[in-house]
Symmetry: C2
Subunit: 318 residues, 2 copies
């Protein structure tokens, strides 16, 4: 008993009290968007239906971008219609790159959007062709025009940028500060190239928490270097309970062909549930859904469980 | 400052002071052993040479098993000869299943061996056809006959067993107790089916630390469920500094075809180095070595960095 106490007071993993984690399923947006060939709308809808049957309650279902820029998202209106009319229990989230996108989303009844700004100025320029000031001005316009929309600020390249390498935490804090002053209450930290390490994750999260104690922080970690779950574990330890994940691990990084993409929803749910966290998901159904993606969309999924053919043999708490 | 202090005192990841980590490269034993076709001895030696050039200083180079049981290890004597005569700066470790194996290893000058006992009685029976008492009796015989050999007790199925599911921490502690009473000073916890979760890892490590504060504990984690680095992070946080890893992630689990095997040395080194831990490895050379394995032995490696073709684009500390 004394020994145990001594160890608990020393270094180690101090988890916040286990609470339900909130998973935003992003396969229908971030996953599908990275597939070159157009996925028939009926297939997209079939996957979305399976994800909801597996327990997904918040899903980023599409993106309000120009169909010329991203043809895969050309059926955004149909996807929104389907989810709104068939799944009233679900919170659909739509990514909007600008005010026009928010207007389109709002017209279709969408009340939750994510709005992307890259911490790296070079990446913000490459991704949406804007300066930080231009991005913030459009965000202010969205917030002003739609007080009934809940906007989450998605901070791309929060842990590093393929163009400039390290990104600035000070710049990130100033972007968050501007958003909070507009009334934004949630942000999502994105590591789309998957380079964050656990110590860096802890430092970034602590810096944001110190400056904005009431902010709802989400994590969107890619598994390029295999560190996504380790980084999410650090988030859990610091009380983060919102995570964006993609069924099957779909959604690569255009700068790392062949590499793993988003952390797979089923891999995250597996870790959370084995640790005693509630997720609301049925793991077996999630894996079935990933296998549907494997059959109809992308045979080479990078998620761990979907690659392990006999995962059920290990379906026990050790 | 106050905010930061408050967070530091609350939940979170409390890392022990960064120290050099000690990596035992196990690709030549655990990796090669899982390849069906015999790997020519010259190829094995070429990989071992590359690993040493990349910084490996402790390597489990082969196994003293019957060539009938595991034909891949039939060239054990040649491998030992090569390493002993060409790489005096290296500590070669040999896996021995029994006293006879220890005798053979000792005759060739080996002074570091790992001896495997499964925490699961059913797995110990299936793996080496013994009861725990029989395994411990042979371990006692090895220790008595070779006081100049340093034996590490390798505890298989430390986090779960493919036959019985959960394994008993009490049984594990009693096996360790028996070994410590013989004079054993090091153990390695193995999760060859890769099911351990971070909370379980913390509990098992804390239980062992509480009972055996002076014991040198190593971790051997497979990445079947993608949780290996998260579990190793928990180990780091609790002061564990010895890890067994396999270049390229070679070495599957016979019970999980298609699944990831050992955590890849380069993936572990990448995480450690980005966190500021010294490993003694050159990451670029490790990846080159993994690509040699990919070309000559196994095209479908499951390590993260070796699958990411352009990993160098992300070679920065974010």
């Amino acid at each position: 008993m004394n020994h145990h106490q001594a160890i608990t007071d020393g270094p180690g993993l101090r988890l916040a009290r286990p609470t339900p984690v909130r998973i935003t399923e992003i396969c229908p947006r971030d996953g599908f968007q990275n597939i070159k060939a157009f996925i028939p709308t009926a297939v997209k809808i079939a996957i979305i239906d399976r994800l909801i049957a597996a327990g997904a309650r918040t899903l980023e279902i599409t993106s309000m971008v120009s169909p010329k820029a991203i043809p895969q998202m050309a059926d955004a209106a149909d996807i929104i219609d389907h989810v709104s009319s068939h799944h009233p229990q679900v919170t659909p989230v739509v990514l909007v790159p600008n005010l026009k996108g928010a207007q389109r989303a709002h017209r279709q009844g969408i009340r939750h959007v994510s709005y992307v700004v890259s911490v790296s100025p070079a990446h913000n320029r490459a991704n949406i062709n804007r300066t930080h000031d231009e991005s913030l001005a459009d965000l202010a316009a969205i917030v002003a025009e739609f007080p009934d929309i809940q906007v989450v600020l998605t901070l791309a390249t929060a842990f590093g940028c393929p163009f400039i390498g390290a990104t600035s935490t000070a710049v990130m804090l100033s972007l968050i500060d501007a958003a909070v002053k507009m009334g934004i209450r949630g942000i999502t930290l994105c590591d789309a190239i998957g380079v964050a390490n656990p110590l860096q994750t802890e430092r970034v999260l602590q810096a944001i928490r110190a400056a904005f104690p009431a902010l709802d922080i989400g994590m969107h970690m890619h598994n390029t270097h295999g560190m996504a779950l380790a980084n999410m574990l650090v988030g859990l330890a610091l009380g983060i309970t919102r995570f964006e994940t993609a069924n099957g691990g779909l959604g690569g990084c255009p700068f790392a062909p062949g590499a793993a993409g988003n952390i797979a929803t089923e891999d995250a749910v597996n870790m959370f549930q084995r640790m005693g966290y509630q997720t609301g998901y049925d793991l077996g159904r999630l894996i079935e859904s990933a296998k549907t993606i494997q059959r109809h969309i992308e045979p080479n999924l990078t998620g761990s469980l979907v690659r392990s053919r006999d995962y059920r043999e290990f379906d026990f708490i050790g």
